[in-house]
């Protein structure tokens, strides 16, 4: 087995295991940390797919900033663990059962679709990429072909920032929020 394949399986196993634990953990702090582990595994996979820029951006933005935000919220709210006895609140048990059935149906559909795929996807006109893309090439594409999306995304982030502050700030009469 060549090293690339071994690395793929290692990172893939890590990603699947950590994602499963994210969903299964009851303590939200552990969930956040396990998700960070999942991001690291995926970053490794991106490097294998000749995308080191995407890998580093994933770590900087996703694992380094968004997850810090999650962690801050979990810590400031002192988020309680999901309590089994809280099922007394409503038809929580029925919700879980139906949710589980839906997820099971999704898995079944996925397995069916995968079992029917026989041929590999056709490589593009230039074939699979051999060397890692340089940041310059990506920059070229972002600022020419996707320039409008780039500008729109920056407005989106501004709107999200203002919205988050407006939603989460304290609106006590006479005092400024925060």
């Amino acid at each position: 087995m060549e090293p690339n394949l071994i690395l793929f399986y290692a990172f893939a196993a890590l990603a699947v295991v950590t994602s499963l634990l994210v969903v299964a953990q009851s303590n939200p702090v552990y969930s956040v940390l396990l998700l960070i582990g999942s991001f690291m595994a995926l970053a490794g996979l991106y490097v294998l797919l000749s995308a080191p820029f995407a890998a580093v951006i994933q770590i900087i933005v996703y694992a380094g900033a968004i997850m810090v935000l999650f962690l801050f919220v979990v810590m400031l709210l002192n988020a309680p663990k999901e309590d089994a006895t809280q099922a007394a609140i409503g038809e929580a048990r029925a919700t879980r059962v139906i949710g589980g059935l839906l997820a099971g149906a999704f898995v079944a559909e996925l397995l069916w679709a995968l079992s029917r795929s026989r041929t590999m996807a056709m490589p593009g006109p230039m074939g699979a990429r051999e060397s890692a893309w340089s940041v310059g090439e990506i920059g070229q594409i972002i600022f020419t072909k996707y320039a409008f999306a780039f500008e729109a995304t920056s407005v989106l982030i501004l709107v999200a920032m203002v919205g988050a502050v407006a939603l989460a700030g304290r609106h006590v009469a006479g005092k400024r929020p925060g």
Binding site: N4, L5, F8, A12, A15, S19, V22, V23, P28, S31, L35, S38, L42, L45, L49, A51, A54, I57, Q58, V61, Y62, I66, L69, F70, V73, L77, A79, E82, Q86, G90, A92, R96, G99, A103, L110, L114, S117, M120, A121, P123, G124, P125, A128, R129, W133, E137, I138, I141, I142, K145, F150, T153, I157, V159, A160, M161, G163, A164, L167, A168
Partner: protein, 100 residues
């Protein structure tokens, strides 16, 4: 050499795990985290296709997806904070005022 199908299977598995998390878990923060798992799976698909088709567009789209995920996480968490302030719980079943 790992083929495209390997990456697509992995991506499908991760997406399923994320969906299961969103549907089954009764804790708002964990639901948001499962949503991030789903977005990750999609990112992996984009980059895998970008690699095997020789196009850098995959990475560019992932760049935008990550940015949008950041904005969505910020607003989602702000909503969670507001909800928590109201009812002191993170269980989505507790918010029933709009039910018919």
């Amino acid at each position: 050499m790992a083929e495209l199908n390997h990456y697509l299977i992995l991506s499908g598995v991760l997406f399923t795990i994320g969906t299961a998390g969103v549907l089954v878990r009764r804790n708002l923060i964990t639901v948001l985290l499962s949503l991030e798992v789903m977005l990750n799976a999609v990112n992996l698909t984009f980059i895998a296709f970008g690699h095997f088709l020789g196009s850098a567009d995959g990475q560019v789209i992932v760049f935008f997806v990550i940015t949008v995920a950041a904005a969505e996480a910020a607003v989602g968490l702000a909503l969670v904070i507001s909800l928590f302030r109201h009812l002191e719980t993170l269980n989505p079943d507790a918010f029933r005022q709009l039910r018919g």
